[in-house]
Symmetry: C2
Subunit: 368 residues, 2 copies
């Protein structure tokens, strides 16, 4: 089945790009900025995976801000990533202001190693940067048949319940769970109604967004993307106020910050910085990998997950819906489709990448 | 500051009851049903704590259904709770269809012991029953200066995104976090917009509830409590459909079920039973206790939590709000108030308790 979560419209706004070619180009950009080859490949794989999975808000469209961070020196190309504390099932890592994707990758690798040996792996990270999609690290655990959990704080973008200004991050929660058959269950969600990348997409399209996602700087609900960027804020999952549970989205966001920011010694709340500076962002992450065999056999677990998926998908349909989805299914289908057809990249993003190529002195291999 | 989250209105609908007296009475009821004294005290403390904290939907108002479960024998008064698997930081417990509160208490105790020795304690539970408020177990960890996490699945009450019927539980998430000063941070939330207990409260009051919380059996949004109980369903956090993030509430609910139900070998999804039978409910729980000193010192952690609380509370106010709350603050203030003033118990609940007292043969010590 050919399916894509999102495709830019109209069709003259984008070009289709082969994902390998895109990965190679992005890796070359990072290498040109003195990032070691292996690390450049990690970042590139992370960004292109976001595009493949239909989360283009977190894909190559954000290349420029990582480049800016490296150029300004607030993000280090060759950080000294250190393990500060370690036990059989846990570790605390200091990322030394490297690229969030590189630090996140190494931290989750460590969590996976521990989970394979001792059933559980729990790794906290301080002094990191924006690490791309949270789901990327949860998916790493999945490849090893482990449950993966990935949390991060982010620069303040959300006004918590009762607040007027941006006070907390969109602080995502990602959980990936092994299943007997594809697609695996992958929840990857911002704790705000939408992530800022979604507002950026509407800005690129020049369209208004759905009522309820964000507020104007004076507190009124807005549907205009520009007003979010002019002092406005996103709203927690559950909406403005408590009536539909906005305090729950706010609470989940704080919990993510407690684990990612407070517990790790990273920045937290309104103090988390941006990738492009001016100061090191000191983003914090929190990863966990869990071997289900601590509790039941992997085979039994995976078969039960299939039954759960089946029951959810085959529930009696609500008359307003055409189909029931499982988490991760849309992204998985989008990935399958884009591996074949290529990734649809906005012309604006292509132009940005061409300018980046020029800036760092690598060949731009695409025709816009 | 005298404050209560909720008080029944009008004032002739309730009587104020001393919390010790209420605890003693509830414990006597369970003892009369052959529950060992210590276990009866655990259940009673759990129910009355819910009332003290302003979550009366999970308090003594539910006494009758636990009694019914015990009387019918689907809930065992003297279960053989067994540890099926165990490691340094984890365990899997078979609750043998005992009272959920007793099993939950013992499971969290074990998680706490492990966390005190090895920084982390992770305990899964199968063959349990409804365990009251999720927050109760998270609060147990807090008393030991640990972060507490408590998850449970529940009988199906929520129609997941795209579904018409009740397919998944309200599957709550509770996280309690130590702070230097009271109140501690305690998130205790259903993954639906509201728990079923809130709809029950509106039914008791004979009032319509807020638009958006639930659907009629035909799928239409309803505000009538009766329609929820006549084949209708609750809606996930984020609402009906995906526009405001309903798929996120649905996803969180499934994650809670994966940890509580699938991973533990308990029932899951639509298969989770009710406390009052006809079959054993086989509810599953999942607990974690985390010693923050795995990462940073307890003192540093607690002081940072105070700073986080301070910053959140003192953010610039949205013009539509009078005050910013921290999670657990309302419940904490309600508890302080009710310890002094007594717990407001609905007359209907008093009548039910009086009938229960007669049924099991204990003295009813209150005047209605």
């Amino acid at each position: 089945m050919e399916y894509e979560k999102t495709v830019p419209v109209p069709s003259n706004m984008y070009v289709r790009v082969n994902h390998w070619k895109l990965k190679n180009f992005v890796a070359e950009v990072f290498e040109a900025l003195n990032v070691p080859e292996k690390d450049a490949e990690i970042v590139s794989d992370n960004l292109v995976t976001a595009d493949l999975r239909g989360i283009e808000s977190h894909g190559v469209a954000r290349l420029k801000r990582y480049v800016d961070g490296l150029v300004k020196g607030v993000v280090k190309a060759r950080p000294h990533i250190k393990v500060l504390r370690e036990g059989k099932v846990h570790a605390l890592i200091d990322g030394d202001s490297g690229l969030g994707q590189v630090i996140g990758f190494k931290a989750m690798k460590l969590a996976i190693e521990k989970a394979k040996k001792n059933f559980f792996g729990v790794v906290g990270v301080r002094k990191s940067n924006h690490y791309g999609i949270a789901g990327y690290y949860a998916l790493m655990a999945l490849k090893e048949d482990l449950i993966g959990v990935s949390l991060t704080n982010s620069r303040p973008l959300v006004a918590h319940t009762g607040a007027l200004k941006r006070t907390i991050g969109t602080n995502p929660i990602a959980v990936a769970v092994p299943t007997a058959r594809d697609p695996p269950f992958v929840l990857d969600m911002a704790t705000s109604i939408v992530p800022i990348g979604k507002i950026e997409s509407y800005r690129r399209k020049g369209e208004e967004f759905t009522r309820g996602w964000g507020i104007h700087k004076n507190g009124e609900i807005t549907t205009n993307p520009e007003e979010i960027f002019e002092g406005g804020a996103l709203v927690p999952l559950g909406g403005l106020g408590e009536v539909l549970g906005g305090h729950k989205g706010y609470g989940l966001s704080v919990v993510v910050d407690v684990f990612s920011g407070i517990l790790t010694g990273a920045n937290w709340g309104a103090y988390v910085g941006a990738t492009e500076g001016p100061e090191p962002s000191n983003v914090g992450h929190f990863f966990a990998a869990i071997n289900v065999e601590a509790f039941i056999s992997l085979e039994e677990f995976k078969e039960k997950m299939e039954r759960l998926k089946f029951e959810l998908k085959n529930s009696k349909l609500h008359p307003s819906f055409k189909k029931i989805w499982i988490h991760g299914e849309k992204s998985w289908l989008t990935m399958k489709t884009r591996i074949k057809k290529g990734i649809p990249v906005y012309r604006k993003t292509m132009e940005m990448m061409e300018a980046v190529a020029k800036e760092v002195g690598v060949k731009f291999p695409f025709k816009v």
